[in-house]
Symmetry: C2
Subunit: 497 residues, 2 copies
Amino acid sequence: MSLVMPAPDSRVLDRRAAIVAALCAIVPGEGVIDEPRRLKVYESDGLTAYRQPPMVVVLPETVEQVSAVLAYCHAHGIRVVPRGAGTSLSGGALPLVDAVLLGMAKFNRILSVDYADRVAVVQPGVTNLAVTEAVSPRGFYYAPDPSSQIACTIGGNVAENSGGVHCLKYGLTTNNVLALQVVLIDGTVLRLGGGHLDAAGLDLVGLMVGSEGLLGVVTEVTVRILPRPETARALLIGFATVEGAGQCVADVIGAGIVPAGMEMMDRPAIHAAEAFVHAGYPLDVEALLIVELDGPAAECDHLVGEIAAIATRNGATTCRAAADEAERMRFWAGRKAAFPAVGRLAPDYYCMDGTIPRRRLPEVLARMRVLSEDYGLGVANVFHAGDGNLHPLILYDANRPGELARAEAFGADILRLCVEVGGVLTGEHGVGVEKRELMPVMFAAADLDQQLRVKAAFDPPSLLNPGKMFPLLHRCAEQGRVHIHGGALPHPDLPRF
Amino acid sequence: MSLVMPAPDSRVLDRRAAIVAALCAIVPGEGVIDEPRRLKVYESDGLTAYRQPPMVVVLPETVEQVSAVLAYCHAHGIRVVPRGAGTSLSGGALPLVDAVLLGMAKFNRILSVDYADRVAVVQPGVTNLAVTEAVSPRGFYYAPDPSSQIACTIGGNVAENSGGVHCLKYGLTTNNVLALQVVLIDGTVLRLGGGHLDAAGLDLVGLMVGSEGLLGVVTEVTVRILPRPETARALLIGFATVEGAGQCVADVIGAGIVPAGMEMMDRPAIHAAEAFVHAGYPLDVEALLIVELDGPAAECDHLVGEIAAIATRNGATTCRAAADEAERMRFWAGRKAAFPAVGRLAPDYYCMDGTIPRRRLPEVLARMRVLSEDYGLGVANVFHAGDGNLHPLILYDANRPGELARAEAFGADILRLCVEVGGVLTGEHGVGVEKRELMPVMFAAADLDQQLRVKAAFDPPSLLNPGKMFPLLHRCAEQGRVHIHGGALPHPDLPRF
């Protein structure tokens, strides 16, 4: 979406120069970026359909600098957009023309690891994979594994409550974070949580995780680390119908088995992935499940047999256990390459993220096919079936007039469908700018009001990441009336692109 | 602690009569209790050292009535103390002389169960055990299992983020609740969460769980239910030293094994329990572990062997697997009877609740023995060792002048010790009135300020459960200065006993 920028007047330029000078005083050296050419690097995140270079980028190195930057912005009413690695798929780190982009890239150290208590204290700019790499020599790992784990950072994972293949068994980020250090918009530094069980008082750690940068800037994260399971086994199961695959997922879960991961791919995704990486996937099936078990070898062997029996009962046409570690990695190579592989099917794709009750999988996939025909846009499905967490990839061509808008309307219909069948608007990608206008589909006006009051309890002037998560005009969808906060139009969170 | 009540004047009595009349209009029939004799039933919860009959009790039956009661109290500035079954061990439901006690006992229905998606929707007054009983014919159960599960209700479990033996493997209440219906102090009815994964927006469900009745009144709870594991096996392991038992716990967890429960008892607790229920416990040991494994039989058999080997390496003097289900139940009977059994050792006991890093167990138990001698009061330990969640039972005699105060001082020292070694003030019992003055040991003034701002975002006039969780005079312990909120003395949350 091309955004028209207003022509800056001299008053705006003076203000900008003053802000740049102030930030340079707080973060000396290479910590402030304000040349237009270098700002362009920051103009979007993983939701590349939206682009807007920031006013200025600041890259602090210490908590004191973060605190001073925020206190300065607070004192002068300047908006702030926090950014990790910029891999958000919902536009969570989309800059604003009049906001400081606060990049946390220099907070990239692992501060301590305690193997006996199985916790690691890391800075927010450490990548997800780097946590696992740091502890793997001792046989440990960090469980949440979003697809972007090579690039995405723990701070961004906290902001978006990121998941991944293994969250079926090991939980989302919120289940793997014990404590946080957070800087509020006025510069106050807080320590939330306590490293063990229930930390007493209100659970502000739980509230911070998934708050998409609206409540504070995370400067330190205490995460759980887990001993790497003794064994992992993977099964590749093909079905002649999506219904059979969906029922198999429901039956496995219903049998009390919690696989480490249970992923589904539909025909377009299977063919794209197989052509791309030759994973050995069967091509004569409508749906493919990759089921991974981990734990003691005795348990895995037992469960592989049980799952194979459930698959057979649900009409599986092929069922293959990886013979060795190399084959298991090949099974996953196809899944992991599915997004870039689908990217070869069309010039652009739009990755959606919604969650539904598992038993509604076949129905929702069928209705999605009808929507696909109605909109005249293809769709491929690669998703966390065990969690009911869908990732439809809508295929389109941004160069064809109107196609992006049509893809977005299709995506919104898919999310409405998720809510209609009893699901939710997200799985693990957050709301960001992408889904903010859909929030009233899921939440009543009173529910959104309460969320906004909690936001105000952290950031009364609404300077932190404005324009994300909440609908710009907080509509009361049920009653067809427009609901304005604070009595003022435009809405205080209205971003000025 | 005997509390001196002020003599009521006629203005107070008129106000009380008006409140009773208004509540009777909202909840007709048997729903309002105001005779002093019947109010006495409600004068304390599980923390019986504190007693205060409420001004009046109201027992609504519908969400509309709850909303109307709260809206009335809000409009007239009347304080409200919500109450489930009254089993709180931290005084979370302690009444106030000038507050309405809002009892949720009549919300006792299971509204729906969805086995395919493994969720049950229940009213808050349903007991913890009743959820399991309702779904057990289909082979399911509700995992959190506080010791009070026969009596305690789901609403109270949500308020206190209750745990239990099985929370080591299956998480606390917060990990098992997906959605809530909540009534705010102004009568607004909210729906929080969404029943699946991450519900988009700020995580207000996570915030509500463990909020001890300070944010809203829960009127409906959507909980996860789990298929009952195929098998359960229990091991009884005795050690000549507490250090050996503590190291065994750390090694089991460090080996990547997550037992369904791992409980420890020390010598006084072992002897008391054995004398009480003849569980077959060895009497020549200093510490006893009960370790339970659940899951597929193949997995359990494998893990029983691994744990036995770890126990032997740590110098276990006895290690016995339950031969059959009857023996397994006997192992647990002793653990479950440990509290009443310890109750026979002294006229009174005070059950503490703190959590420490597992590897500090031997050191903390040793320092607790020194404190026990210093205070001249016995202590027995029965606790969730796998979680590092201690439950020291301090033995005292309330009829001896000064002993209660000494027991409380001893308890406070234990909790300070927990925080000192890197632990937290609670495990699963909440802060309530019991630990509110200790909150500054764990949280800095800025952290408490932020919690209070979040409280105010739900309940601006601070009418809901005042006097719980937060220190009465929010002291800035580090700086030795007194910090008053809102500029007023007495503190707005100061309860008027």
